[in-house]
Amino acid sequence: MCLGVPGKVISIDDSGPLLMGKCDFGGVRREVCLAYTPDAKIGEYVIVHVGFAISKVDESEALRVFSYLDEIRSLK
């Protein structure tokens, strides 16, 4: 439905009417519109859907799925 793929920002271009950039998806490089994630910096990851970054990946949250089980076990 709304396929979104994490890509690493490798360049940013603010010369045109829309904030654009290039992202690397495991070796595949594509142009992406960064207008909805204006604070994304080179080296950071964004979730890209139909050529638009819709969020910046929160790297600390990204690890929580691996620590969640220990968290709930400690509650018991």
């Binding site: 829309l18 519109c33 909805y36 204006p38 139909v50 709930i72």
Partner: protein, 370 residues
């Protein structure tokens, strides 16, 4: 690929399966809303490895599946016009209208082009000033910001040869339909992670409260699905009905505020017909009046074009979790990916296509030959 591969680790998955087994004591039916989640569940066989108390039913979260036949037929009529270049996402190309699909129109000479982004369609309009370029703007809340920004770009550039057929649908009103359905058995929802990335989760809180149903904004990888199921089951077993965020690496409470702002600048909410389900109040988006010149349905005089749907396609009941694809008599017989009766069999994220692709290979069900 980073932020994908780590979430497919079987060793971590086994820990989640064990935690779910330890937590569940009663039977629960959980609906995953998004077709992308359905695809992951069926592809990795997650539903078959969960404890038998847990039933996963597939929700209406496939924009292709819910696009009404008349919207497809409008697209076909426009795409057949000689002065038109018709642009669409790839997965809409083979969705059946009442008599053909875009692929057939292309084969018969229509200029139908698959695009990855709506900005590609704007570029095609810029490069072909003598042509009418029409983009098929289908999708949920996730896709609306992209289409809104593309439209603003076209307007700022004065591209009067660009227009859109808008077929946008929204998730929350559809969750209400599922909750209010007569013999609804859905006890919890795994909400669509990328819809919530844009919209946030605020709009789901009154639904969770009113219908006493836990809602967990969940991602799309196996680990995301498993953690989402565990979070939902823990709530159900403890009698809680709250909104939780599993897919925290992308979803925040208020979503992407800039994206929501641009969407509300270009679109307004409206009632929308969902294929196989019928018309649902304020469950869609349409262009605001100031963008009327970009509305292809009006530009080509098709605004009130209506069509009846194929009765022996049960996709409507499958989309709200009432039936499974294998309950449909046409499944695998008169309805296959080559000869689809409905969109849920064509769309890569449709439940019927997922069952046909991943389930028909093994013996858990056999294809009935007519």
């Amino acid at each position: 690929m980073k932020f994908l591969a780590e979430y497919r680790d079987p060793a971590v998955a086994e820990k989640y399966f064990a935690a779910i087994r330890d937590t569940v004591t009663k039977p629960w039916t959980i609906m995953e809303v998004c077709g992308g989640q359905t695809n992951t569940i069926v592809r990795y066989g997650i539903d078959e490895q969960l404890p038998k108390e847990i039933t996963l039913v597939h929700g209406p979260g496939c924009p292709i599946c819910v696009t009404p036949v008349e919207m497809i037929d409008r697209a076909l009529i426009i795409a057949e016009r000689s002065e038109v270049i018709f642009c669409s996402f790839g997965d809409m190309i083979r969705v059946p209208g009442s008599r053909a699909d875009l692929q057939r129109v292309k084969a018969e000479g229509g200029d139908v082009r698959v695009v990855y982004s709506p900005l590609d369609a704007v570029r095609i309009a810029r490069e072909n000033p003598s042509k009418e370029v029409v983009f098929f703007a289908v999708g949920f809340e996730t896709t609306a910001p992209a289409n809104a920004m593309a439209l603003l770009a076209a307007k700022n550039e004065g591209l009067s040869n660009f227009s859109m057929i808008v077929s946008h649908v929204l998730v929350p009103p559809m969750l209400e339909v599922v909750c209010n359905a007569k013999d609804n058995r859905v006890a919890a929802f795994l909400a669509a992670g990328h819809v919530c990335t844009v919209e946030g989760v605020r709009e789901y809180r009154p639904i969770a409260e009113k219908h006493r149903v836990p809602i967990v904004a969940t991602g799309f990888e196996p680990m995301d699905i498993l953690q989402g199921v565990l979070m939902a089951v823990r709530q159900l077993e403890e009698g809680r009905a709250e909104v939780e965020i599993q897919y925290g690496r992308s979803v925040r409470e208020d979503g992407n505020e800039l994206a929501r702002e641009i969407v509300s600048k270009v679109f307004t909410r409206t009632k929308r017909k969902w294929r196989g389900i019928g018309t649902v109040g304020s469950s869609g988006l349409e262009l605001r009046e100031e963008f009327a010149s970009f509305d292809a349905s009006r530009k080509f005089d098709l605004a009130d074009f209506e069509v009846e749907e194929n009765e022996n396609c049960l996709s409507g009941r499958i989309l709200i979790g009432e039936l499974k694809p294998t309950d449909c008599p046409a499944f695998g017989v008169s309805c296959t990916p080559e000869t689809p009766l409905g969109a849920t069999m064509v769309s890569a994220e449709g439940a019927c296509a997922a069952y046909y692709r991943y389930r028909s290979a093994n013996s858990s069900f056999e294809i009935r030959n007519s």
